[in-house]
Amino acid sequence: MKESFSQSAGRTAVDALIAMIHQNRGYLSEIDGAIGDGDHGINMDKGFTLAERELASKDAGMSEAFTILGRTLVDEIGGSMGPLYGTFFKRLGSASRPKDPVDSETMEHMLVSVLEGLQAISPAKPGDKTLMDTLVPGVDQFKNARADGKCFADCLDSMIGGAEKGWQSTKDMEAKLGRASRLGERSRGVLDAGATSCYLIIKTMGETMKELLK
């Protein structure tokens, strides 16, 4: 397995994310419908589609593509998802910008930057039943795997595994922030929409990158 991929190759991760969001528009809205207002997939698809159009005319590498995606989400979605996922992708872009090729040290830098960016604007933490329940363990497992000396591809696997566990753990949580918190106890027993989209994003990103390391 290789230990890095080029910015140019890494662009495919962004394209894969956009495709994944298109495919999951209905699924994400359905999940949001149980304890939210049923539009999470619609909101994400709207923003990612606009970003797709922006990117179509550009020959952008991974970092630039992440930055354009992030800025589009900030500029176009509004609500909470615009700033949250907008910052998510802008940070992926800015933390990786000077690096070509991209290795696991850079990836860790990217993930930590995302976490810091989100923690700076949202008080959400694990246990609140939000996308942070997916993101925090995902980032932690990547860092742990790297500290254990694992290869880039294995670190990505650990990241996906941590994210999946965190995502599934939202099922029995009571929502503490956002619309679902209106339901109190009744928000248990259903997965969180933002945690779901975050898992799909981390999974898609991780698996695409693993392909590039083969």
Binding site: D37, G38, D39, I42, V74, D75, E76, I77, G78, G79, S80, G82, P83, L84, I121, S122, L177, G178, R179, S181, R182, L183, G184
Partner: protein, 332 residues
């Protein structure tokens, strides 16, 4: 779903186009289709007043653009915060070089987007300060007042800040006046039936017929309790029992009262409610300096009512009394 719309995905765009055509004497479009401005903005020598919020609360927010009130408003999707870009463009539209006061409601999305917009405005050298409305009593205990949501009290905050700016206040003075206004304002909402977002097609929460949700928020955020629907007089008592001790308001106070329907409640009922409010305040020796009764801050087609009280002092009183001319509020 009995609505008057075309494509549900374009309700906000189309409403804004119709609004601008209907009220060209007060409101003008800007280069950003999600930002409307006062015809005379930016007003030379005056601090700019900006607000913004999700659609579905008409007349809020675009209905309060006007003379001595709001200079520019950022418009979001239904019940969603506007984008950072819209807030930024509203700031630019309102700015005449004296700084801009962004007066908006305490919601997670709005907080994040305003913060991002302020960064961009700072890059342009525009001085921006904010006041975040948090008048909704049921959303958090008084010891955590900073967590409370902003509801109809925002209107009185815009009134005070807008007047201070019109009377020549500096940015710091405008912010202080708006902050004092909202700090002296308390609100509570009572929901009787849910609202339906066109793109979603069904109510976004439920209230059983025969029940009322006391303390409801204006996107349907949970209240303090769900109970059997009470008489209008009893609702008035409960509303004042919630609000009065929270500031507290006391005998001898001078107040502004604002009663707003939530959209579908017949206006006649707002007056039946206000009748008891006025009587109870009078019994307590609280004098009503000015009353606003009507649909001032709604939630699509929700049935229900909100009560807002603001305590006046010698600084706030003339700010409330200054004339205004906007689509949603005209006062001479």
């Amino acid at each position: 779903m009995q609505r008057i719309i075309n494509n549900p995905d374009f309700v906000v765009e189309e409403y804004l186009e119709g609004f601008v055509k209907a009220h060209g004497d007060i409101v003008v479009p800007t280069s950003n289709p999600r930002v409307l401005a006062y015809r005379e903005a930016p007003v030379k020598g005056k601090v700019g007043i900006v607000t913004g919020g999700g659609s579905g609360h008409k007349p809020a927010f675009t209905g309060y653009i006007g003379k001595n009130l709001v200079d520019a408003a950022a418009v979001g999707e239904i019940f969603s915060s506007p984008t950072a870009k819209s807030f930024y463009h509203a700031i630019k539209a309102a700015d005449s070089g004296q700084g801009v006061a962004v007066l908006y409601g305490n919601y997670a999305g709005d907080n994040m987007n305003v913060a991002m917009a302020m960064e961009d405005a700072a890059d342009d050298g525009i001085a921006v300060r904010t006041v975040v409305a948090n008048d909704d009593v049921p959303s958090a205990p008084v010891s955590q007042r900073e967590k409370r949501r902003g509801v109809a009290g925002e209107i009185l905050m815009w009134k005070a800040g807008g007047a201070k700016a019109a009377l020549g206040g500096t940015l710091d003075e405008v912010i202080a006046a708006a902050q004092k206004a909202i700090d002296n304002t308390r609100s509570v909402g009572i929901g009787l039936s849910p609202c339906t977002i066109p793109a979603v097609g069904k109510p976004n929460f439920s209230i059983e017929p025969g029940k009322m949700e006391f303390g409801i928020g204006h996107h349907g955020e949970p209240g303090i309790s769900v109970q059997d629907i009470a008489s209008a007089d009893r609702m008035a008592e409960m509303a004042l029992d919630t609000i009065l001790p929270d500031l507290p308001f006391a005998g001898g106070d001078d107040v502004v009262v604002l009663v707003s329907g939530l959209g579908a409640t017949p206006v006649m009922e707002l007056y039946i409610f206000y009748r008891k409010i006025e009587q109870l305040l009078s019994d307590k020796g609280i004098r009503v300096h000015r009353s606003y009764v009507g649909n001032y801050f709604t939630s699509l087609d929700m049935m229900g009512i909100t009560l807002t009280l603001m305590k006046l002092d010698d600084e706030l009183r003339p700010l409330i009394d200054l004339e205004v001319y906007s689509v949603g509020l005209k006062q001479r």
